[in-house]
Symmetry: C2
Subunit: 368 residues, 2 copies
C-alpha cells in the first residue's frame, strides 16, 4: 500500500513523504543515508515513547552504528529552548557529529523541536520526521518549518530546515487519544477550505468514516492533505507569498493558544480561528450565511470547538493585541487569510481591528 | 578608496563586502534594502559601543523607521544562548518583524552572535555585518558562519546564514587594542599559509608597516585576506570540503581556547595551533625546519604566542581529548589541516594521536 510523495525544494528533489501501515520498511528507507555509519538519536515525547520506542530500537539498532533515545515531557509548554538545550547536552555527551542523524518520533511538538535542534546543532545535521499524530502527518512534518516557542509566543524562534525523509506509519493513529486525533482534523478542514473545494466536500461526506478512523478513508484523506501541503510549500518554501495561506485560522488561533496557556490543543485553536476568519469572509459577502454555518457544522461534527468562553484575560481586545506579536505581521499590518469561497483562500492586508473584533465577538460567549 | 568585493552563494550574487575608511557611505549602501521602511537593531558590545554607536545613530536614524541598540558584555564568554535570549527578548518587546534588520557592530563575537539571532528569530530576518576588529574584517564576518558557544564548546550551536552586506570602516582599527589587533593577525598568517605563498611572503616583508598599522598596507592586507576568504567560501559555502582549510590551526587552537577558559584570545590560540600543525607538517617532511622556524618567527614578530605553559589541566592528552568534541570530527576521525608547503594546505584524516601529542609537546613548556 505504501504511497510515496516526492517533495522538491527550489526545483530539485529534496525528500520523500512515505505513507505506510507499519514501520517495517523504515530501515530500508534509511539505508540510502548510510546509517550503518551513523549515530542516530530518536527524539520522542513521554506519551509516545512506550508505544513505539522498543520497536524502533529493534528495527534500527542492527542497521546503525549506535542508537540513543532522548525523551522529553509531552506538551506544547515543553516546546522551548530549555528542552532544546537538554537535547544539545545529550548529543554532545554522545559525541554526535555533523554526519550523524536525528529522528523525530512523535507529534507536531516533537517534529518542530527536533527539526530546530537539527538545524542548529553543529550548524546543521540531518533529521528524519516520523510523525505519529494526525496533525504532524498532514501538516507540521512537511515543509521544513522548525521552531520552538519563546515566552509562550508560538514558534518565535526557528529555522527553515528540510528533513531528509518523512515516514509515517498510519497505524500510529490507532493509539492516538481522541482529542489529539480531532485536533489534527482542524488542519485538514483548513486544507479543504483554502485549496480544494472537492476535498472539503469529500470530508463532509465521509464524516462518519473519519470519526471511526476507517483505515482506507484515513489513507485517502492523509494522502490528499499531504499533496495539498506539498504543492504549497514547493511553490513557496520560505513563506514569501502563497504559503501564508496555510496560516488560515492561525492568526487569531495562535493568540488564543497562547492566552489559554496551551490548555487548548493547537488544532482546537485553529478551529476557532477558522470560524472567526470565515465570519469575516461572510461579513464581506465572500461566503453565504449557509456556508458559514456549514463550516461551523463540520468543525462541530469533528469534536472541535466553535465558541469559547470570554473571560477577563480573554477578551476581543486582548486577543487582537496578542496576535500583533505574531510572525504574521508585515510593516505593522497583519497578513490575514480569508476565504473568497470555500476551497479558495487569499492573503488580505486590509482586515481592520473592527472586523477582527466583530469576528471574535462572534466566537466568544459570555456567562449567562 | 572604497573597495567592493561581491560574494556569490551557489553561483548567484549574495552580498557585497565593502571596504571603506569611514561610515559615511553606509546609509547609501543600506538604502537598497529599503530601510526607510524597517526597524533596525544595532547589536554591539560594551567596548565598541562608546566609539561608534552615537555616530551610527546619527547616520541611521534619519533613514530608518526606528533604530534601537542592544549592547552585551564584550568577550567570548558571553557568546552564548543567554545573550541570544536577551536579544530575542528585546526584539519581541520592540515588535521586530521578519522584514526588519539587525546590524552587527563589533568584533567576531558580535558578528557570530548577531548572525545566529538573525538566522533564528522568526525563522530568519536580514542582518548586516559591520566588523570593527581585524579578525572580524578579514575572517569571521565573511561566509555566513554564525553561532554561539555551548558549555564552552566553541560554536557548537549555529547556522549557515548569509549577511546582506559586510561593510567595514578600516579606521575602526585605529582604536583597536593592541592585543586584539594582533589576534586578527593569526587568521591573516593562516590565509597566507593555506592559500597564497606570495601573500605570506608579502606579510614577511611588511612586518613593520603592519605593526605600525600603516593605513595603505592595512588596506592592501585586508583586501587580499577578504579575497582569499571569499574564494574559499564561494566554492564551498557549507564546509563539505575545501572550506575546512580555513580551520588550519583551529583544531588544537579551539581546544586550547576552551581549556584556557577564553583567557587567551581566539587569534592567539589559532597561532599556537598553527605552530603545532606546522610542526606535524615538518615532521612529515612537507616543510623544512627553516620553514617551521620562519613560521614561528612571523608569529612571534606579530606578538602572538608560539609556546604555552603546560599545567595540570592543560596537558597534551587533555587537549587532544577536548579537540575530539569539536565540529571537525567525521566518523570519529579528526579532519586535520596540514600545509604541504607554505601557501598550500590540505585536509588530512590520517593524523595520529601520537603526531598530535608530539606537536603539542613541541608547543607546551614546563616550569623550570
Amino acid at each position: 500500500m505504501a504511497k510515496r510523495i516526492p517533495v522538491k525544494y527550489e526545483e530539485k528533489f529534496s525528500y520523500d513523504i512515505v505513507i505506510e501501515n507499519s514501520y517495517e520498511n523504515l530501515p530500508k528507507e534509511l539505508e540510502g543515508f548510510s546509517i550503518h555509519n551513523k549515530k542516530l538519536c530518536i527524539v520522542t515525547e513521554t506519551n509516545v515513547k512506550d508505544f513505539y520506542v522498543d520497536e524502533m530500537m529493534s528495527l534500527l539498532q542492527p542497521c546503525a552504528k549506535e542508537v540513543i533515545v532522548f525523551t522529553f515531557q509531552a506538551g506544547e509548554s515543553h516546546k522551548n529552548l530549555d528542552t532544546i538545550q537538554s537535547l544539545y547536552q545529550v548529543l554532545i555527551e554522545h559525541k554526535f557529529e555533523r554526519t550523524d542523524m536525528l529522528l523525530a518520533l512523535g507529534g507536531g511538538v516533537t517534529g518542530d523541536l527536533t527539526g530546530y535542534a537539527a538545524a542548529t546543532y553543529l550548524r546543521g545535521i540531518d533529521f528524519v520526521q516520523l510523525p505519529t499524530s494526525l496533525l504532524a502527518q498532514v501538516d507540521s512534518s512537511i515543509g521544513g518549518k522548525t521552531g520552538v516557542d519563546f515566552q509562550s509566543y508560538k514558534n518565535m524562534i526557528g529555522a527553515f530546515y528540510q528533513p531528509k525523509l518523512v515516514y509515517m506509519n498510519l497505524h500510529t493513529l490507532d493509539t492516538l487519544p481522541k482529542r489529539e486525533y480531532f485536533s489534527g482534523m482542524g488542519e485538514i478542514i483548513k486544507h479543504g477550505l483554502i485549496k480544494e473545494k472537492a476535498y472539503y466536500k469529500w470530508l463532509q461526506t465521509h464524516l462518519s468514516q473519519i470519526k471511526e478512523r476507517e483505515f482506507s478513508v484515513l489513507e485517502e484523506m492523509i494522502e490528499r492533505s499531504c499533496q495539498i501541503k506539498r504543492e504549497v510549500v514547493e511553490r513557496d518554501p520560505k513563506e514569501k507569498g502563497e504559503r501564508a495561506l496555510l496560516n488560515f485560522g492561525h492568526t487569531l488561533g495562535h493568540a488564543i493558544e497562547k492566552l489559554m496557556n496551551f490548555s487548548l490543543l493547537h488544532g482546537e485553536c485553529v478551529a476557532l480561528g477558522i470560524v472567526a476568519s470565515s465570519y469575516i469572509s461572510y461579513k464581506r459577502n465572500y461566503i453565504s450565511i449557509e456556508e458559514l454555518k456549514e463550516i461551523e457544522q463540520i468543525v462541530t461534527d469533528l469534536s472541535l470547538p466553535v465558541r469559547l468562553q470570554r473571560t477577563e484575560s480573554l477578551t476581543e481586545d486582548i486577543i487582537i493585541e496578542t496576535s500583533k506579536n505574531d510572525k504574521k505581521m508585515e510593516h505593522e499590518v497583519i497578513k490575514f487569510i480569508l476565504v473568497k469561497e470555500c476551497g479558495n483562500a487569499y492573503i488580505d492586508k486590509t482586515v481592520t481591528k473592527e472586523e477582527m473584533k466583530d469576528a471574535l465577538s462572534y466566537i466568544l460567549t459570555s456567562c449567562s
